[in-house]
Subunit: 146 residues, 2 copies
DNA sequence: TATTGTTATACTCTATAACTATA
DNA sequence: TATAGTTATAGAGTATAACAATA
């Protein structure tokens, strides 16, 4: 396996590979909670924003309305999320007690997972990353909803 | 849309969102070449490693053997990649003239795309990213092939 | 008219297991 | 026995268009 790969010198490629590694690590950490990444993030956003709508959750997480449906459905089927009609077309989402328990456990694991990486990087470089990544994200996609 | 999102303080989340933005931007840049990201990277690796096997390409790009099959098939159907039997079980991959033309064009666009982001970040921060992202990638996934 | 949630559908990438034909 | 390529299949995330009910 002596292939060269000049993509190693590309930021987008490095970003994608690094992101994949962290996603895989997170997946392993959350596997036995039977939570997919998209579900955990949804759960955590609802946890800190009781009575939000599913459109709003989608907006902060960049998940399209249509794709929020099966995520919310599954979380409700598992008894982790409840919703209450607000005005006949929108719902207010909240966590159940079970949902809060799972969210707390997930958060603890995310903490461990994150710490593994930030300790490896060291505080100064971690700070640079937290400054740079939002800059990259600020480049408009042109395909945002709404 | 006044929701809070404490995931903004998570490295893995920032990485994923930033990666998604760059992928979307690359996708737009390559759209009219009818090349998907996985296909471009494959094309470029073959370009710089004539006579490599498809297993080798998969190894440097972290694409599983089974998933290389449809990628190579499509590139061959389009007349961009050729292969020559090596020993009855493996092939040597090379680009056709058409493949080289497309690869050159893709490379030029990737260059533009990358420059948009690295100029926004500035050289010093870009260097930090190129130092940090491989560190993140060095965390073993446990699910590598072979 | 615009918005919320929904359905249906398709695409891209990824993952696993099992097979073949070689070596 | 191990390897290269393949098949089949499933999962996860993402994308679009269109619809009903409501505001």
């Amino acid at each position: 396996m002596t292939l060269t790969n000049s993509l190693e010198g590309r930021l987008g490629y490095q970003l994608r590979r690094a992101s994949a590694v962290m996603m895989a690590d997170l997946g392993r950490e959350l596997a036995d909670l039977d939570l997919r990444p998209a579900e955990v993030t949804t759960l955590l956003v609802i946890a800190e924003n009781p009575d939000c709508s599913q459109t709003e959750v989608g907006q902060v997480l960049a998940i399209k309305r249509a794709n929020m449906v099966p995520i919310i459905s599954r979380l409700m089927d598992r008894g982790l999320v409840e919703r209450r009609r607000i005005d006949g077309r929108s719902h207010a989402l909240t966590l159940t007690d079970a949902g809060r328990t799972i969210a707390d456990e997930a958060l603890a694991r995310i903490e461990r997972h994150e710490t593994r990486f930030t300790e490896l990087l060291g505080a100064p470089d971690t700070e640079v990353l937290f400054r740079c990544l939002p800059v990259i994200r600020s480049v408009r996609s042109g395909d945002e909803e709404g």
